[in-house]
């Protein structure tokens, strides 16, 4: 069981955290909304919840609640630039299909 970040993603996260001035890391999860079933949650984490599972790669701590974990286990978080837009990308091996815009997915 693991959640990982690419080096590029980790650098960006650390940059964002430094700019924000607080926060212990990232919180990843899923919500059951969206046109294709599930949507990713990508937030700053200020404090862990007792049930959280903690991962750490390239110096970035990632918290995941145990209910979300089965949907995103094995995910690698990447940072990508597409045209003028840049942001994080979930490379999630569990995804079976996603909606046209890619904002939500099914496992």
């Amino acid at each position: 069981m693991a959640i990982t970040l690419t080096e590029r993603a980790a650098n960006h996260v650390q940059g964002f955290l430094a700019k924000r001035g607080k926060g212990m890391g990232l919180r990843l999860g899923v919500k059951t909304t969206g046109c294709s079933g599930l949507a990713y949650k990508l937030e700053y984490a200020d404090a862990p919840n007792p049930e959280d599972v903690l991962f750490e790669t390239n110096g970035v701590k990632v918290l995941v609640d145990p209910k979300s974990l089965p949907y995103i286990d094995g995910t690698e978080l990447d940072f990508a630039r597409e045209g003028l837009n840049e942001g994080f990308k979930f490379k999630n091996p569990n995804v079976k299909d996603e909606c046209g815009c890619g904002e939500s997915f099914n496992v």
């Binding site: 059951t32 909304t33 599930l38 949507a39 990713y40 990508l42 942001g87 990308k89 890619g102 997915f105």
Partner: protein
């Protein structure tokens, strides 16, 4: 997938904002608007709590347009300018309007004596489309007030129901009316279908159902099959000029005979018709009712009507509903006993003798646990909600219509690349990118096929078209996006677009045309039975295509840059090519694959040298600053 940004804790945005959509039952007598709130379909009431909006529009002397109860209150005193049951005139010419001489309206023929009948009112000549537009506008405002309050907001769209019997002109008129009212029509939905949606979802019942819809002015009977939220219309029938109004009218005529009333003024006709409707409604609850009205001439009409009288005088009207019902059953190849339930729709189905006649025909008590006046609007709202894309994974969302067989295109080797898999709900659009097979290829044939099998020859051919004038690229460099789009009516349009040059070609077909259920079943069965063979065939064809492509590419490279090779190297490559050539038409896909790998290996150095040469050529004679 989309690129995401990190949010503050607890503030991850919803992936898609909820879209607010409404369903409208635009009825002959009454209209309603409904929406889905918190997964439950509800009818939206007006400010006074009335769910129904009488489909009545009055053009007032002060220039105001009154709709609904306010107009109804004036209909007796101002019949010429108060339009009731306008739905009967939608998309109709003057000659189509039955008993125009009995109507209080000042009808004029549409422009050029063709087109839709119009009515002369004090606000000018009005078409049924404009009158219906007024009704729809009031419903839109009601929905916006109820859903957005004072915040303001925009309705995503509306589903409007029409009788199954409406022809194209009548449907188009309904769409035009909605446009006038500022509504985005996502779909017109047949009224019985909407009722089935409301019952099918709310009660989750499977089986054959009959929808018996006796509204104010129209009668529809539909035989539907419901299975896990998917329903299929087996047969429809009806009478577009039969409804509750006719029962009122019959009672009105009967009272005129009983009371020996001389010909009436327009105003008195209205008074008497309104009274007739009240008496009819009373008779569903009471054994007898008094018909009491005072005419403008001073004459008082006072007649007692019993249920028995009413049933006798309207027996022929009830019989007129049973004949289409029996015919629809025959058309569907069913006996009444096979019908699991009968859904009652429309206020007129409250009449006891109608209920009894239906119960007798189908041998069971009809379903009426949803309000028959609201059921169509509720179904329309559920559909509107689904079309607007508001559904969560928890809800069993409604499969309204699905593609019975996969749709795809032919690729090299006679293989089928499925683009839209079967059982996809429509409307649906999917795109996939393809490329060219040969160097300098400037045209591509797009062959649209339908079926589950892997080979084109085992599927059904739907259409062919060619994309021409593709810029001559190396094989595999052109990017051709093929888009499949199936609209709500099941019409498939396929377009192919070369992405760098923007050239495009398209075709439209009706995939389900001429395809019977038995054909679909057979095609599906074949695909299951041949699943294993098909896997092998696909693997083989893929390797054959790859092998041919490889032969093509290596031969092209050899003729261009063969001088880069020593004689030994050349003969080694030639030997591999000969071996692949011998295998490629064979049946062993593994052997072809390994031969391809051998060539790949044998040509590695050759490819590297070619690359060097082309780089050198590209750079030769150029200044470093220009590179």
């Amino acid at each position: 997938m989309a690129l995401l940004q990190i949010s503050e804790p607890g503030e991850s945005p919803a992936p898609h904002q909820r879209r607010v959509a409404i369903g409208i039952d635009l009825g002959t007598t009454n209209s309603l608007v409904a929406t889905v709130r918190n997964s439950i379909a509800v009818v939206l009431n007006d400010e006074e709590g009335h769910p129904l909006l009488p489909s009545i529009v009055r053009y007032g002397a002060d220039g105001n347009v009154a709709v609904g109860y306010e107009a109804q209150a004036q209909q007796a005193s101002d019949p010429k300018n108060t339009i009731v049951s306008v739905k009967r005139f939608m998309g109709r010419g003057l000659k189509d309007v039955a008993h125009a001489e009995n109507s209080p309206y000042d009808f004029i023929d549409g422009p050029n004596g063709a087109g839709m009948v119009q009515m002369r009112t004090r606000a000018g000549v009005k078409s049924p489309v404009e009158v219906s537009g007024e009704i729809l506008r009031v419903l839109r405002l009601r929905a916006e007030a109820a859903l957005f309050g004072s915040d303001g907001g925009e309705l995503y769209g509306a589903v409007i129901t029409v009788p199954a019997y409406f022809d194209d002109a009548q449907r188009q008129a309904t769409k035009d009316a909605a446009k006038l009212a500022g509504l985005n029509v996502m779909r017109l939905l047949n009224e019985p279908t909407a009722a089935a949606i409301a019952y099918g979802l709310d009660n989750a019942a499977e089986g054959i159902y009959a929808v018996f819809d006796l509204g104010g002015g129209t009668f529809d009977i539909s035989i539907l099959r419901l299975t896990k939220g998917v329903f299929e219309v087996l047969a429809t029938g009806g009478d577009s000029a039969l409804g509750g109004d006719d029962f009122d009218h019959r009672l009105f005529c009967w009272v005129l005979e009983q009371a020996r009333v001389p010909p009436l003024s327009d105003g008195d006709t209205r008074v008497m018709l309104i009274k007739a409707r009240q008496v009819k409604e009373d008779l569903t609850l009471h054994a007898e009712a008094r018909f009491n009205a005072k005419l403008s001439t001073g004459q008082v009409v006072d007649v007692m009507v019993t249920q028995r009288d009413f049933w006798d005088m309207t027996r022929h009207l009830v019989a007129k509903t049973l004949a289409p019902a029996k015919k629809a059953l025959r058309d569907a190849g069913l006996t009444p006993a096979e019908v699991k339930g009968v859904v009652m729709v429309g206020g007129a189905t409250r009449m006891l003798h109608v209920q009894r006649a239906v119960a007798e025909l189908f041998g069971q008590a009809p379903l009426n646990n949803l309000d028959p006046d609201k059921v169509v609007a509720l179904g329309a709202a559920i559909q509107a909600n689904a079309l607007a894309g508001n559904r969560s994974s928890e809800e069993d969302w409604l499969l309204l219509d699905v593609i019975p067989l996969s749709l795809g295109i032919e690729t090299m080797g006679g293989l089928v690349e499925k683009i839209i898999p079967r059982n996809s709900t429509i409307p649906v659009a999917k795109a996939q990118e393809f490329t060219t097979f040969k160097d300098g290829q400037t045209a591509m044939a797009v062959h649209v096929v339908q079926g589950e099998r892997e080979l084109v020859s085992d599927c059904r051919s739907l259409a062919r078209f060619e994309l021409r004038d593709i810029p001559p690229f190396a094989a595999g460099a052109a990017r051709i996006r093929v888009t499949f789009q199936v609209d709500a009516d099941g019409l498939l349009s396929v377009s192919a677009k070369e992405m760098t040059s923007g050239i495009e070609a398209a075709v439209a077909v009706k995939p389900s045309y001429g395809l019977a259920d038995s054909d679909i079943t057979r095609m599906l069965k074949d695909s299951f039975e041949h699943a294993r063979d098909d896997v092998h065939v696909r693997a083989l064809r893929e390797q054959q295509v790859e092998g041919e492509r490889m032969l093509e590419a290596v031969n092209a490279a050899l003729s261009a840059d063969g001088d880069l090779l020593s004689a030994d190297e050349r003969s080694a490559i030639d030997a591999e090519l000969a071996s692949l050539k011998g295998l490629v038409s064979g049946r062993d896909h593994r052997a072809i694959k390994s031969a391809i790998e051998h060539i790949n290996h044998a040509t590695e150095n050759f490819a590297a040298r070619r690359m060097d040469r082309s780089v050198k050529q590209a750079l030769a004679g150029k200044n470093i600053a220009n590179v």
